[in-house]
């Protein structure tokens, strides 16, 4: 039988190559596992890496080529909301499915929701809500927020602030800072946070904006802990290269190495054996999302896009990070988000890394479908 082609749209060259590579590795491992077990409905999965260059026009051009020449119907990607936006247009036009395991902008399943688009990861609302839950549970009173000055950063901050107000009305947001993407010197911002007297700092920063913030804050005398979107990442922690600057801070994500359970242990072992490194951060996310997609295809019993869409809607998948359920009304998966503090000693790395993960249940962080702004998915 024919193979099922799955195109992975990631930046495989350029500055964000590292992120793209990691996502791709996760998807590739998923295909490996699936194929080793006889494929999906007897069909092998063929992963086609596509270098999106993080440019929508390039991504869609290449995708068009795959659609027109190879008949590819399934696409996934995790980096760059703009790529997702462009892919949505394409998905409509050619009737195909695009799922993401990394693009977090809430609007993608909100105002911009589309029948051909599935999000199999947390969005800015749920991700922020998980961190807000942690902050509220620790009883912090003074909270500062710092984020990149673009839609993602703003959405993340708004989500966090709203959830925190709800969970702990006593908590006060003493500083709410937006800084340009690619800021090099965080000193003035750090001083502002220090002046505000915050006990904890929320940040949705990623890339160099995360590492530089953490790295520069400590020597300037900031004692507060950070509650971060992406600190569960060995990549960020090695870039900071200062364990003291990260220990005690917390990260949140839908998959972590430290999620308890034998399923996860087995997965980590298998992955390590196959690839030679751990399925940290992005790899695990992409793996799980792809496994869930495979479940949907299995359930549909065919590779027909409409059948898979219908099968996926409402599907539950119990991977290794809790139960994930695909909500039919907006195609946003309902899943737990895990939080974990960074600790010095861990079984994985010599440097500091996240400790035991705590689950924040889906019910606690979900945004009801009516509140997302999604006007329905009728084709």
């Amino acid at each position: 039988a024919d193979t099922i082609k799955l195109a992975v749209m990631e930046p495989l060259s350029g500055t964000f190559k590292d992120i793209g590579d990691r996502y791709l590795e996760g998807v590739q491992y998923a295909a490996e596992v699936l194929n080793a077990n006889g494929g999906i409905n007897g069909q092998q999965v063929e992963v086609i890496p596509v270098d999106s260059e993080l440019k929508p026009a390039i991504a869609t051009t290449k995708a068009t080529k795959l659609i027109l020449t190879k008949g590819v119907k399934y696409f996934c990607g995790g980096t760059g909301s703009s790529v997702a936006g462009a892919m949505e247009v394409l998905a409509q036009k050619h009737s195909l499915i695009f799922y993401t395991y990394g693009m977090a902008a809430a609007s993608l399943t909100g105002e911009k929701c589309s029948p051909n688009f599935f999000r199999v990861c947390a969005n800015t609302d749920t991700h922020s809500a998980a961190l807000a839950t942690w902050v509220a549970s620790k009883g912090f009173k003074k909270v500062a927020c710092i984020a990149q000055d673009y839609s993602f950063g703003k959405e993340a901050t708004a989500g966090f602030v709203n959830k925190l107000k709800e969970l702990n009305p006593d908590a006060e947001v003493v500083a709410q800072i937006l800084h340009p993407i690619g800021t090099k010197d965080f000193a003035p911002y750090v001083s502002q946070i220090i002046n505000s007297g915050a006990e904890v700092v929320f940040t949705s920063n990623w890339g160099s904006d995360l590492t530089l913030l953490l790295k520069q804050a400590k020597p300037l005398g900031l004692k507060a802990k950070f509650a971060c979107y992406y600190l569960n990442d060995d990549y960020a922690i090695t870039a900071v290269s200062n364990d003291e600057a990260v220990i005690g801070s917390v990260g949140a994500e839908v998959y972590m190495l430290t999620i308890p359970g034998t399923a996860n242990e087995k997965f980590i072992e298998g992955f390590k054996k196959s690839k030679g490194y751990y399925p940290t951060w992005l790899r695990g996310k992409a793996y799980l999302a792809t496994m869930m997609w495979a479940e949907a295809v299995k359930k549909a019993g065919s590779v027909d896009v409409d059948a898979v869409r219908t099968a996926w809607e409402g599907l539950s998948y119990d991977g290794l990070a809790g139960t994930w359920t695909m909500r039919a009304c907006d195609h946003q998966v309902q899943q737990p988000v895990w939080t974990a503090e960074v600790v010095a000693k861990n079984p994985f790395f010599k440097h500091a890394y996240v400790g035991p993960a705590t689950m924040v249940a889906p019910e606690k962080i979900n945004v009801p479908c009516e509140a997302t702004g999604c006007k329905g998915l009728a084709k």
């Binding site: 270098d51 440019k55 869609t60 080529k65 462009a86 247009v89 609007s107 673009y150 839609s151």
Partner: protein
Amino acid sequence: MMSSGRMQRYGLLLFFGFGALIAMPWVLGGYTLRLLTESIIFSLYAVSYNMLLGYAGLLSFGHAMFFGVGAFATTVALEHIAGLPLLLAVTMATAFTALVGLVVGILLLRVKGTPFALLTLAFNALFFSIGIKWTAVTGGDDGAIVNVPDINIGLIRLNLFDGPTVYFVTLAVVGSVIAFCWYFTRTAMGQSVLLIRENEERMRFLGYNTHVSRLILFVFSGSLAGLAGAFYAVLHGFVSLDAVSIAMTTKVLLMTFIGGIGHFVGPVLGAVFYTYFQNFISELTDSWPLIMGVLFIAMVLWTPGGLAGMIQSAAAWIAGRKASDGAPAEER
């Protein structure tokens, strides 16, 4: 002056070239046709860039600001004005870009040479950061979907989602604008620009207001880039900040240069070559920018005339004589 025999040869060439372009949708596959459509759009973009670089001697590192403005203006116009015909939206976007070009030109043309190059780069960065912040227009980092309406000509409705249709519309509109650009280089205005590059002081003493000439050219070139941007938005049905990024400027620079500055057809060749070649090598290796970079450096070092220059000298070699085209516009 062209001899009539030569005229005829050119005419024949044009005729067959045009015929070939018309036949393309039946020859090429859907994807290659799409690449061709994109090449045509980028040809205009590169031709407009060459107006600045090749003709006026202005090296700009900020051409993407016009390209982006054109693209986003089209998007905004289509989104906010209900029932706006597509070509009207494109025209409005082009006009708007011209306006932006006027303001930017007044500011930037106060300096020349390298400072000008540098400032255009800084302005490009400025436009980009405005783009990030002005989410209402650009959709910020997420980009914006373009609601491309059908074109109504009497009884016929043209749906631009269809590959051949968008190809023909692009060919008709963008192609004729490119043709107009060619004519422009021979008009009084086009020639004045060329002379100003040669010797500006003398031109002033010959009664030319050189500042105005340069400004007109800058605005003209900018609005053409805007038009290219508008079609780019239409073709993709989606615009992101990419359209105003410095990478987009880099792209036009590479295209124009690889094709050959100073030759009218150079940028067109460059745009077509770049589009297909990049498509080809990016499939072979992830380090394709390395190859592009090395190719580019090699071109700068050994064949500064670009592809057009290479073809020209090859033709001259075959003809066994030096090509000597009477038109001053073609020399560098």
